[in-house]
Amino acid sequence: MDHIVAARILMGISLGFHIVYSTIGIGLPLLLMIAEWRALRTGDELFHQLARHWIRPAGVLFAIGAVSGTVLSFELGFLWPRFMSFSGPIIGLAFSMEGFAFFTEAIFLALYIYGAERLSRGMLFFCTIPLTVASAFSAVFVISANAWMNTPAGFSLANGVLVDVHPLQAFANPAWAHEALHGTMAAYVATGFAMAGVSAAAMLRGRNLDLNKRALTLSLAVASVALPLMLISGDWAATILAVQQKPKLAAMEALFTTTRGAPLVIAGWPDPATGTVRYGIKIPKLLSLLAHRDFDAVVEGLDAFPPGTTPDPRIVHPFFDLMVGSSFIMVGAAAWFWWLRWRRREVPQGKWQLRALLFASPFGMIALESGWLVTEFGRQPWIAQGRMRVAEGVTTQSGIGLVLLTFLIVYLALTAGLLWLLFRPSSAGTGMETKQEVRHVEP
């Protein structure tokens, strides 16, 4: 296999794997924090039990998040040494900050998980605060590195050597604000829906109703607060792309030719040979409105840029539609739930209601993965937009295909282990349940 292709596939798979766990590593702490806070405030022990119930998944998923993240930081060196020699002094700073966020997370997660017998309840709640804050910060920091790849800033080059590095300008590069907001909120949406799905499944099987009702409401509430923010920040992101990353926007929207009053194309298959979108639904002038807030604005198409410098719309456009489509599925499911909840003043438990939530539950993660694919595929062929091509950043070492194969096996093994753990007969909460019940009876 061509070693650039192998390197790209390996990087993409590793990131796609890591993001699942790190997303939960961002979302779950917030849920834990709210649950512990409710338990302290209202004296409702069930909330505390709920939080302790989530410890097992949290512990395992965090562990896999940590080791898969380690793979990534090594891969920056294995796969992209020339890119890192160039950009390390700039994006390295974001990663250095992230390192301290990791320390904080690992420390307070350990205190929270293992400290039950050694810390007071107030202290346990306290531990969830730095945990939540640090995990959100770790996303904001690492996304700064990614945003810099999209809009490199804060440096200049003299004969290929970095000069004039401005760390703050580089950190707060033009794409950072929208990516950080949209990208971090996405973790809350994805975790909230995933956890709501788990509770809905348990309720459908009639298990632990009281606990799961609270779990469902709590996780869906978090997701529902974040979801509108996703739509607003996503729209904001698109207007910024329209200025900063025009080729990406054109690929996302499958716009081949520069157009005044450009239509929005939903679904369809972009065909670069003919420069048209087959089977797509066109809504006249909507793209111009969304991108530039003006029905008759000009939107640059892929033809506005030199050949060989633009991404392939066939992989960017479908994932963009998948992200946006997923949002509407989630909005629908959540709206139905809250409507019934408000009408009946009780957590709705109808079969179809729960099934709808179960159906919608993976779409947070799907939207998040596809959003990242839009961002990453949309930057091609650049590793640092306009500054360095992927082919110039890749390693000179051979044998990357073999490394790819090795890590595929590693990821498969980890996934198999995880599935074994989660579906181990009655493993969920064994041992703990009895212990908690005992503690629950005690005054």
Partner: protein
């Protein structure tokens, strides 16, 4: 001497020492779960697992700290090292992944007190493999066989496999196997403690022999490095390490466990410091100096600003963590 490049080199050293002294002990714990023996084998294993649980993720972050410091502060050196050390580092990563996952699966997959030998086995094997491969990678980086020609890195495909690096791998394992029983002796008592004490002494002897063997092997295989190791000031640090090592053995013999713990950590810290000091002022022996490998000045300044702010958050949190989980490991945890 106090230039920012040198200080950044110091930060790498600090990260390496912290990873060895804390993370190394966790790997050592894994090694000793494989070699638990005697009537209390089960208790040995359980106490090791319980001691590792709350701290391994935190201790693991020191490795991330080293990697991030390398690519931020020494980007050209980082690119070169990670290009030529691909194979041993991939082995390290595989070990890290299987170890972390197996530990978590075993720990959170338990029902009551069952043991899950399969997961424990993977945990033990990867705890042995990882420090070995890492030891090889670290020693391979000083062999002087990594060449920079016109800014591009070159090395023989299997240069990282030699007597010097093989012994280096064993030293990596030895460091881990040495620290764990000594730390455990502080946390346990009675018969269990008497089990860990001789294990610490034996591992100490083994580590002493291995590091001693490494010197003549280095003379053959990495002459530049060996020459600098035997010249001051690296030699001075090495002598200190030897003194610390002997003192630790005596303390263990006399059952002075707390002091022995400090002594053991000091021995390992000094050994690594001596090793790194022998490299100074180079990043790649004979090829690239620290100053030549370093990032622009503004980056280094920003890096140290981040380090300062980070330390303010990190130190109290770390103290709180180790203080909370000090003493006897809890036996009935999630």
């Amino acid at each position: 001497m106090w230039s920012l490049e040198n200080l950044a080199g110091g930060a790498v050293l600090l990260g390496l020492v912290m990873y060895a002294v804390f993370g190394g002990a966790d790997f050592g714990g894994g090694i000793w779960t494989a070699f638990a023996s005697g009537p209390l084998a089960r208790e040995q294993r359980e106490s090791l697992f319980h001691a590792i649980g709350p701290v391994w993720e935190t201790n693991h972050v020191w490795l991330i700290f080293v990697v991030v410091t390398l690519f931020t502060c020494f980007p050209t050196g980082f690119g070169a090292l990670f290009t030529v050390l691909l194979v041993p580092l991939v082995i390290v990563l595989i070990g890290i992944n299987f170890r972390g996952a197996a530990f978590a699966f075993r720990h959170f997959g338990r029902r009551g007190r069952d043991h899950i030998p399969f997961m424990a086995g993977i945990f033990a094997v990867s705890s042995i493999l990882t420090p070995f491969a890492l030891g090889m990678a670290v020693t391979a980086s000083v062999t002087g066989k990594i060449l920079l020609i016109d800014g591009r890195v070159h090395a023989e495909p299997w240069f990282w496999l030699s007597p010097f690096t093989l012994v280096g791998g064993l030293v990596g394992m030895g460091v881990c196997a040495y620290l764990a029983p000594i730390y455990m002796a502080v946390r346990t008592d009675g018969e269990l403690r008497e089990d860990f004490r001789p294990r610490g002494i034996i591992a100490g002897l083994a580590l002493g022999i291995l590091t001693a063997v490494e010197v003549p092997v280095a003379m053959m295989d990495a002459p530049l490095f060996a020459g600098r190791l035997l010249a001051s000031p690296a030699a001075f640090v090495v002598v200190l390490a030897v003194i610390f090592g002997i003192a630790t053995q005596i303390l263990l013999w006399k059952s002075r466990f707390l002091s022995a713990q400090i002594g053991a950590a000091g021995t390992v810290g000094l050994t690594i410091t001596g090793f790194v000091a022998a490299m100074y002022p180079d990043f790649l022996a004979g090829q690239l100096t620290l100053a030549g490998a370093a990032a622009p000045h503004a980056t280094l300044v920003a890096y140290f600003a981040i380090l300062a702010v980070g330390t303010i958050i990190l130190v109290p949190s770390l103290l709180f963590l180790y203080w909370t989980f000090r003493g006897e490991p809890d036996t009935e945890l999630p």
